[in-house]
Amino acid sequence: MTETRTFTDMEQIICTSSRLMNGDKLYFTAIGGPPLVAVLLAKRLHAPALAYIVEDGTIAPQVSLPAPPFLIAASGASYRAASWTDMNTVSFHAGLGYIDYGVLAAVQVDQYGNFNSTFVGPAYERPARRFGGPGGANEIASLCWRTILMTRQQGRKFVKKLDFMSSPGYLDGSPSARERAGLPPDTGPWRVVTETAVFDFDEGTRKIRLQALAPWATVDDVVAEMEFEPLVAPTLENIDVPSEEELAVLRAEVDPTGRTIRGRWITVELEGDSARLVEQEAPAEGA
């Protein structure tokens, strides 16, 4: 019995990330985009008790689905929250150690999980492309116990050297580098999720390490889309492709306008646990 399934790279990233989330943990998510969509998907499907806080001071809302369009500027985003506070207050909760996981998107990631959301290009004053800035990512990546990063598997995203380090991973990778920089100990990036891979970080060297692989991709496929050679775990876990249920919920309920889940299309043929790539779009410029 084979089955064909078609999804976007971003849908894969979102589904993989959402499966990393549990109902008895507390999450701090960027206010929109893939991180929030992944959290909403987890909450809708397998972790209804999951609680999350958002930079705007909303604590543990219960967004009613289908999500309203333009969630960032909609009262639906903070509906039936446990508490409405402010930006400083939720940062303090993170600083006090209440928040288990930060969930963030990155433009560029380096081998220590440091990441960039400020600009790409040769020089600060003349960026090839300027982005919005770290937003809340610097504090989230510093203060939450663990960080989940979401990005696409592309060479220009996994770089040897960031054009700008907006937010901290393990900095230069040396022992206690984060502590010496004033960040709380025992924190740092935990997983980096792409459409073909999940990375964790080696405990000794704090270097990024390939930990799981999409069934339709090889280690070489992944490494080909990185500027540097990652560590590879002795045994790689398997990443499930988005299920029909996940895709249905994503498309109809969590992101009905499709603004976040859009991306390049991937079609695979499923047979048991394995999947064979049938077709994939080329990455769009600047995606």
């Binding site: 500027a73 509906y79 929250a81 003349r126 800035g133 937003g135 809340g136 504090e139 510093s142």
Partner: protein, 323 residues
């Protein structure tokens, strides 16, 4: 208590004593009405060269009408804190009002990129949280606060933060300078004529912004009786004595939302996004700002009553805000 490292960014230097003197000499402690037009408020209280702070503009409960009036009055060389904002910075830069931006997060496109390349605008790197926290420091009346992030990153290097050895724990910790803007623009749900103000919903940092700033302009959806304010003192988030101007501005957050009252005009937000991508911000500003004399005229002639009614009707969630 050693300073281990310092950022090299330019920043508005904290001067709590000068701030105190300004407050002492300029604030009205009696109960006097501060109601005035948006024109008068911006003319009197925003000067060229001022540092202007506001929250979440063009998305949620932002002082959008006040910002348009700043553009209309062609204020110049402003310095803004762009924390958690949409394309405000783009509009202000396109209009030639702003030449320095402290960045937390803002929507960025060609307008800002080109202005930066041309040297017309300088960006300084912070984060949303660091800017809100610097405003908290300002609102506490202290020159700095310690925080446990920024360190180690390029944001630190491009900022005005310092890494010190904490005299209590011996560990490394950052300090950030207080931010005390010249003027704060804060859009609120309700206030009385004296400025006692209510804000409904989750917020970025309107109270910190208000209290950290020398001058404070409120725009408000509704002016309510002071007796009503005093019947629910816990709802008052900003006290009257901090307020310099109260501008009655229904739909003052337009095209953003005021949760519980009206939805964001997504169509308009798209229009401005497209204008900036196509290099047509001049046309956008002409249509929405310069060709009308006031916020009220913009609502009547550019938005129209029908659209306003729709935005109100579609905001069906009142719970927690107005009920």
């Amino acid at each position: 208590m050693t300073i281990v490292a310092e950022g090299t960014g330019v920043f508005l230097a904290p001067d709590p004593d000068a701030h105190r003197r300004y407050i002492r000499d300029h604030k009205e402690k009696g109960l006097v009405s501060k109601v005035m037009s948006e024109h008068e408020a911006i003319e009197r209280f925003v000067d060229d060269g001022d540092y202007v702070a506001y929250d979440c503009n063009l998305w949620v409960r932002g002082p959008a009408s006040l910002m348009r009036e700043i553009i209309r009055q062609k204020k110049r060389e402003l310095w803004i804190a762009a924390k958690f904002t949409a394309h405000d910075a783009t509009m202000l830069v396109a209009a030639g009002c702003v030449n320095r931006i402290d960045v937390g997060w803002m929507e960025v496109g060609r307008v800002i990129t080109e202005a930066q390349a041309a040297g017309d605008v300088q960006l300084f790197e912070w984060s949303n949280g660091a800017l809100a926290y610097r405003l908290l420091a300002g609102s506490l009346g202290v020159p700095f606060l310690p925080l446990r992030y920024l360190g180690g990153t390029d944001v630190f290097k491009f900022s005005g933060a310092k890494l010190i050895e904490d005299p209590y724990t011996g560990q490394s910790i950052c300090l950030v300078p207080a931010l005390t803007p010249d003027v704060a623009l804060v859009h609120v749900n309700q206030c009385d004529e004296f400025g006692n103000a209510r804000i409904f919903g989750a917020v970025i940092s309107p109270v910190e912004t208000a209290m950290a700033s020398k001058k404070l302009i409120l725009s408000t959806e509704e002016i309510v009786d002071s007796d009503e304010i005093r019947r629910h003192p816990q709802q008052t988030r900003i006290p009257y004595y901090a307020v310099d101007a109260v501008v009655h501005a229904p739909f003052g957050g337009y095209p953003g939302t005021v949760p519980g009252l009206y939805k964001a005009d997504v169509e308009h937000l798209m229009e401005s996004g497209v204008a900036q991508m196509q290099g047509k911000m001049d046309e956008y500003l002409e249509k929405w700002v310069f060709s009308v004399s006031s916020h009220q005229e913009m609502l009547e002639q550019r938005v129209g009553q029908e659209k306003l009614d729709t935005l109100k009707a579609e905001e069906t969630i009142k719970e927690g805000y107005y009920e």
